[in-house]
């Protein structure tokens, strides 16, 4: 059932990376069927009508799959609903009279661009350092040549479901990117196709990750914030593989 509620929006405004930011307060009336971002669309429409610049926030798919959206809502990355990206959050999660504080994801690795928009390119650099299986176009054998146990494929998928939103980093007191990195490493390490580069990949990705982000001290906040509920187990696998990668004699790793 749709209702109209009145809420107070306190939203972070910042003109550029190096300018100081501030909170702005706007009362807002909205139907509970609206999505959270539609509520912001409407607010932007009103700001524009009044001659004030709209709030910059990013989104694209609005289906929880592209990872473009993502803001802190009342101190929580992606807001109050479990396993839900910002774009999938609806106003029925809020009550009449609520104050809603909206801020950008904050982390040293994610500089603020403007208002709620941030720069997450370090996540791309982690992938660039090894988050792939090296196979040139046309070089692949028949897809059914290598059976993959169904359980392994499913587990790999659980990791591959990461949308690269960066909420894990924003939620972490240390701004660590372990959950994101472990999801990619885990996805590939669980599949036979990922084995040849397993050790070099793990080592390279961890080292690039550490150059941008803080250390993991096992708080687990990342998992709580993750819209895809990526399991903390993957961080354990990552740590295990990283240690192994350091001692592994790769020349012998073709042996079973």
């Amino acid at each position: 059932m749709s209702d109209t509620i009145s809420v107070t929006i306190r939203v972070w405004r910042q003109d550029g990376p190096d300018t100081p930011g501030r909170f702005e307060t706007h009362p807002q009336q909205i139907t509970t069927d609206a999505s959270f971002l539609e509520m912001l669309d409407l607010l932007n429409e009103q700001l524009n009508d009044r001659g004030e610049e709209p709030i910059v926030f990013e989104s694209d798919c609005r289906e929880g799959i592209c990872g473009t959206c993502g803001v802190m809502i009342n101190g929580r990355a992606h807001g109050p609903q479990r396993a839900t990206a910002t774009c999938q959050l609806h106003m029925r999660e809020f009550a009449d009279g609520d104050e809603i504080v909206i801020e950008p994801f904050r982390a040293a690795g994610f500089p603020i661009i403007r208002d709620l928009a941030i720069d997450r390119s370090p996540l791309d650099h982690i992938i660039e350092s090894g988050g792939y299986i090296s196979v040139g176009s046309g070089a692949a054998p028949d897809a059914n040549l290598t059976p993959v146990p169904r359980e392994a494929a499913e587990r790999a998928f659980d990791a591959a479901a990461c949308i690269g939103c960066g909420a894990c980093v924003a939620a972490c007191p240390n701004s660590a990117a372990q959950l994101f990195t472990s999801a990619k490493v885990g996805h590939m390490a669980l599949l036979p196709q990922g084995q040849p580069e397993r050790w070099s990949r793990t080592e390279a990705m961890v080292e690039v990750m550490e150059s941008y982000f803080g250390p993991c001290t096992n708080h687990g906040e990342c998992h709580e914030a993750c819209p895809k509920e990526i399991s903390l187990d993957f961080i354990a696998y990552l740590n295990r593989d990283y240690v192994k990668a350091k001692v592994k004699n790769r020349a012998l790793s073709g042996q079973r």
């Binding site: 524009n48 350092s129 176009s137 692949a140 479901a161």
Partner: protein
């Protein structure tokens, strides 16, 4: 024959460059006859790829691997976010793993038929051939496709196909395929063969002596306008479904790259061929920003119905079986709920227009799982569709296990796009279009799970061959320097356009005009079109466009992230496109696939083609801002598939 340079209007020859020979050997033989660039010479060529969705990322990665020097551009903050990421259902390939009678020929046949005989046979055959390589490639990259208990790849039947040829990765096939292509791309970025430009929007293409020689982009963060030159330009910039404002496309999808290429001479083909997907969640209020697709696979188990009496006020559960109209099962006993998209969509419109719509705004039909849950149990249904059911509940607040879903058609995919020949080159030499951006192999209607196939076929396995044939002839030519007047004049033009938006100082937002435009396009150039509505659109759209240019309000400045400014240019292009869509739809006096002209239907209300007069591609040539485009045709011949009236009874 050489394609005619775009600068000579009225002498246009639309040569598809399809080689002669038996269709099954065409591509194999042609690969042998094309010119090659030898490995050490490839690095002497620079190629620009715009767009890093499935088509662009796969092309850029493959060209980089081959040794070309590639510059890849995307307006997203990362290549991983392209609209391709949202594809749910799956990807077709003629692997015939289930041994149920599939073959390259059958996939070819189904695609030509599904497209209502408005596609080019040779292209479609090639697509079916390379489809099998895509699955191999993706699997080797680590794409976690669904597997059976023996560990082999699983298939399902999708969108009306009578064989199981769809590979899938839960409900996230596009995501997994894009992440595969993205990882291949990032590998080349690391190797230094691809230079990646994120948050860079193409605002124009540049030609010299009739040949594409580069592009001009705007950095979305700094506002800087920069020229880039290359030996060839590949546009992989996606479809234009957002012309309807409400659509299942991602918010940033737009026609700007293709449209600006069109304005520089590239023909725009079949703009009226748009696909309206039958299973989307209906809009719930006036400021709805986009519509969410519920995967078509739901039609395998869900039954579609509306109350038999108009203006029904009871809840779904209170309406007895005898008072429900399972209209697809009734009208199409052979295919039932699995009829092709266009048929399913049009039928939903018919029942809703007749007052049988359901939901608070009476703008939907039911998709009911009660029978499937009773037959297979809730756990089985949850295993198949759990994530989709969750998504539905999150958006609507309703539980689809206990009450039926509400669905309604929405703009989803665009078959029209830049005209390309067999080499995927537009009529402008050196300019290519791949993926959803070209006018595609899907004719007048795309089958489910075939867009991912086409994008990746183009990018991994077709363009990397065909581009070499053209580049081989340019060996030794250097690129046009970016201080050449052909570039500097375009840069100035873009800077002027930007200041025009910022100084218009009107009263309404860009979104306001986009929403209004979308409504006009949906009402008149949507699921069903007629002459009166199209003429209406042709007078309303220019009037609204004039108001838009006079009264739009774009605040802020050009030297910072300014989303209204970005959107202003995109919406301006949608206005021009919308007008062309209406003209194209008006001139095509037949119904075919997604283009349904109410004047042209059988006595049973089915689409009626006119093969004698319209078995052709309509490709439009730009003649300047104040002169209507010229319509050119490419005749389509069908030597391998017999034309028949589609029947899904």
């Amino acid at each position: 024959m050489e394609p005619t340079p775009a600068s000579q209007p009225n002498s246009m020859v639309l040569d598809s460059q399809v080689p002669d020979g038996p269709i099954a050997d065409l591509w194999e033989n042609h690969k042998f006859s094309m010119n090659l660039v030898n490995p050490s010479n490839k690095r002497k060529f620079e190629v620009i790829v715009v767009g890093t969705g499935l088509a662009g990322a796969s092309a850029a990665a493959t060209l980089g691997e081959l040794g070309y020097r590639v510059k890849a551009f995307t307006f997203h903050d990362s290549p991983r976010r392209a609209h391709s990421i949202a594809a749910q259902g799956g990807i077709n390939a003629a692997k015939n793993y289930p041994n149920d009678g599939d073959s390259v020929h059958r996939l070819f046949y189904d695609t030509v038929k599904g497209g209502d005989y408005r596609s080019r046979e040779a292209n479609v055959h090639r697509l079916a051939e390379v489809s099998v390589n895509i699955i191999d490639q993706a699997t080797a990259q680590g794409v976690p496709f669904a597997r059976d208990y023996g560990g082999l790849l699983d298939n399902r039947s999708f969108g009306g196909a009578q064989v199981s040829r769809t590979f899938y990765a839960r409900g996230q096939t596009g995501q997994q395929l894009l992440l595969g292509a993205y990882s291949a791309l990032m590998r080349q970025v690391a190797a230094g063969t691809v230079e990646l430009h994120n948050r860079s929007e193409l605002l124009d293409v540049v030609l010299k002596d009739g040949r594409a020689c580069g592009i001009v982009t705007r950095d979305l963060l700094s506002g800087e306008v920069t020229p880039h030159s290359a030996h060839a330009v590949v546009l992989a910039t996606g479809g234009y479904g957002n012309v309807y404002f409400l659509s299942t496309n991602a918010m940033m999808c737009n026609v700007t790259a293709a449209w600006r290429a069109h304005r520089r001479g590239a023909l725009f083909a079949n703009p009226c061929y748009t696909q309206i997907h039958p299973t989307c969640i209906p809009a719930s209020d006036d400021f709805q920003s986009k519509l969410t697709l519920m995967s078509e696979s739901l039609r395998n188990d869900g039954r579609i119905w509306v109350p038999s009496t108009a203006d029904e006020s009871r809840q779904a559960g209170d309406i007895p079986e005898a008072e429900r109209d399972y209209y697809l099962e009734r009208k199409y006993p052979a295919f039932g709920n699995l009829v092709p998209r266009d048929v399913a969509s049009r039928n939903a419109k018919t029942v809703v227009d007749a007052g049988h719509g359901v939901g608070p705004l009476r703008n939907g039909v039911y998709l009911d799982f009660a029978a499937a849950i009773e037959r297979d149990g809730q756990d089985a249904i949850a295993a198949r569709y759990g994530n989709l059911f969750d998504m539905y509940q999150r958006i609507t607040g309703e539980n689809p296990y206990s009450s039926p879903m509400r669905i309604y058609p929405a703009s989803h995919y665009t078959m029209g796009g830049l005209w390309v020949d067999y080499h995927l080159m537009t009529n402008v030499p050196g300019m290519y279009a791949i993926g959803e951006a070209n006018f595609s192999d899907h004719g007048a209607n795309r089958l489910g799970a075939s867009a991912l196939m086409q994008g990746l076929a183009d990018g991994y396995f077709v363009l990397p061959y065909t581009i070499g044939d053209d580049l081989a002839g340019l060996l030794g030519d250097s690129v046009v320097p970016t201080d050449d007047p052909v570039f500097t004049s375009v840069v100035t033009g873009i800077e002027d356009e930007t200041s025009r938006w910022l100084s218009t100082n009107g009263s309404r937002s860009v979104d306001h005009f986009h929403r209004e435009l979308g409504r006009m396009v949906w009402d008149n150039i949507g699921m069903a079109r007629n002459e009166q509505g199209l003429r209406q659109a042709l007078s309303d759209i220019p009037a609204l466009r004039e108001e838009f240019h006079r009264d739009v309000r774009v605040l802020g400045s050009a030297d910072t992230l300014n989303q209204s400014l970005e959107k202003a240019g995109r919406v301006a292009d949608f206005f021009d496109l919308a007008e062309l869509m209406a003209r194209d739809a008006l001139e095509r006096e037949e119904s075919c696939g997604g283009h349904f002209r109410e004047e042209h239907q059988t006595t049973e209300g089915e689409a009626q083609r006119d093969d004698d007069n319209f078995s052709h591609v309509a490709a439009w040539e730009w003649n300047g801002p104040d002169t209507p485009q010229t319509r050119h045709v490419e005749e389509l011949t069908f030597d391998n598939v017999a034309l028949s009236q589609r029947s899904y009874k």
